[in-house]
Symmetry: C2
Subunit: 351 residues, 2 copies
């Protein structure tokens, strides 16, 4: 596993690797929406404001079909930076990892079969409560049911997310739980000030330290859903939380409802872990002692500029790209170089 | 496996048993709706006409929670005959078999997370086309995606169904494919004439022998969905089709779209296989050479009249009861006597 680096507790990380090597994996993509993403300049996901709501569905469709059904374009910036779902699809396919989509309050439904939770999408936390306390409770409860099913069906559940604007709500939730640090971004010039300003507005509404209240005021539907999945799936299998600081927010909330970190690791890309504007490892160590596995992808070596841009601070992570790459390497023994070759093939297929 | 009887090809049946003993199972309940169920006297599912549409959701909820959320009553006839979901729940719990609900055109959504296919419910085949050709195609395609996921996540996928009025549409589909025989019923006096009359009306609309046209005119959304799941799941794992003649209709359609019977068995209860008004074994042998596994349940020995009524021709099967009982016996080695004791305990819990 030369291309997987461990941050945090080395021993726990090694243990996680040992116990999942050549084992069975399931990938679940939790798609969601927060109207916080509509604040101009806060996210790069979605080329146009009207397209932001299709981010999750488009990622889900791309992973399943290799193209999108809800929108006619490929989820890619005009200059060719592709959605991280491209990495996810490549990794899952190379390792024959089955995948399933969980709709946790997406504004639009994806055009494929998905696990529905019948949740409302998250409101703009800069203006109003993100979701009702009832919806927070439901997200956790339904998440727990899904986690029980997924955990019982595999050796390791990888949980990814796709929610535009989700790093801002993650920042909100971390602040709500008193965790300091900053969050990552899909843009090289992280619009930190705008995020902080938005969270400040949201914090004004916070009436108590109740964890459900924190999610309700500052969060989004993805966070309690993944926390629910995590809490039950980790009882019966390993769980790899695929993402950056958004998964830190999940851990903060999960801890507050009794989760202790059993059988769990965070899986991300080196582009997040090396992000100077966000210190993932520091943030997570403030929450609990779970190891971070980092996929040392070789996108910098690609001659395709859309791919090498990842190493220059664009996109970085999302749609479970880091976690799926780690899952692929663990299951099949492929290295990052081979994965890059497959990713390039996939890229050329869609352009 | 003293309490599992094999009908049809004995060798294939034994092989299926050997290759699934002590293995991993997943149970999926496909819930659906056909307005054919609204024809007075055609089904016993649902105590009142207004409640018929809750049959599938109530079964799904009962299996997950041990009670129903969409209706306030327990799905049981006034004189205490319980839904077969009681047997399903008991068997799945005893064997720790993970379960998932697939919503294939249910008229109401169940109150739990479920895999959604975004299908319309089936219309009354006595009056009009059951579903559009587009919806038939979509059901197969989405079913194939679901089957790929489920098959990759286990050694044996059990597929059950809950669709009130479904034996009539199954009869329609079998007739459409030129298969003779009759179908089972949830009532001891099988309303065969009413079913045949309904199917005759539907057959008048049939313009061709195209399999999609047959489902469109005579079927329901469950049949193409399960056929889709079957076709992909059986490529990578075993599939146990849990049900009676409705699963024969699934096989007839699946065959017409290229399925050859690989890795597949039908699993049912002795109350269906012994039903004089329907000859399951004959019907299936006309379609293809797949073995039938019969759970020889011991409900006749129960002192609870609601349970022993199953042996007197009431209910008989449904919600995957036979298949889950077989799965439970195969996975754990429990016999039918022990399963009965657990079922009685569960019955007393809800009454």
């Amino acid at each position: 596993m030369q291309d997987i680096e461990i941050l945090g507790n080395q021993q726990k990380g090694l243990e996680f690797i040992k116990q999942t090597e050549q084992k069975k994996f399931i990938f679940s993509l939790v798609i969601s929406y927060t109207a916080t993403s509509e604040i101009p300049g806060i996210t790069m996901a979605g080329e146009h404001p009207d397209l932001i709501k299709f981010t999750g569905p488009a990622d889900a469709e791309f992973i399943h079909y290799g193209y999108c059904r809800s929108i006619s374009v490929i989820p890619m910036t005009p200059d060719g930076k592709p959605t991280p779902a491209l990495l996810t699809k490549t990794a899952l396919e190379a390792a024959s990892i089955p995948s399933v989509v969980v709709n946790a309050g997406s504004k639009v439904s994806p055009k494929l079969p998905f696990i529905d939770m019948n949740l409302n999408y998250g409101k703009n936390i800069g203006k109003e409560s993100a979701l009702s306390l009832d919806d927070v409770g439901k997200a956790v409860e339904y998440g727990r049911i899904i986690g029980r099913f997924l955990g019982a069906s595999t050796d390791c559940v990888i949980v990814g997310e796709s929610i535009p604007g989700g790093t801002t709500t993650a920042l909100g939730v971390l602040e709500g739980f008193g965790i300091t640090g900053s969050v990552s971004s899909s843009m090289p010039q992280n619009p930190v000030d705008l995020k902080i300003q938005t969270v400040k507005e949201a914090l004004k509404r916070l009436q108590s330290n109740d964890p459900f209240e924190i999610i309700s005021q500052l969060g989004d539907p993805m966070i309690p859903t993944v926390a629910g999945i995590l809490s039950t799936a980790s009882e019966i299998s390993r769980v790899l939380l695929a993402g950056g600081t958004q998964m830190a927010a999940v851990l903060a909330f999960a801890k507050s409802i009794g989760f202790e970190g059993k059988n769990t690791a965070v899986g991300t890309t080196s582009y997040v872990s090396e992000d100077k504007s966000a210190n993932l490892s520091d943030i997570i160590s403030q929450i609990m002692d779970v190891p971070i596995l980092v996929a040392r992808l070789k996108l910098a070596e690609s001659e395709i500029s859309g791919l090498s841009s990842y190493a220059k601070g664009f996109v970085k992570e999302g749609a479970g790209a880091g976690g799926s790459s780690i899952g692929c390497m663990l299951k099949t023994g492929l290295d990052a170089k081979s994965l890059l070759a497959l990713t390039e093939k996939e890229y050329l297929k869609i352009t």
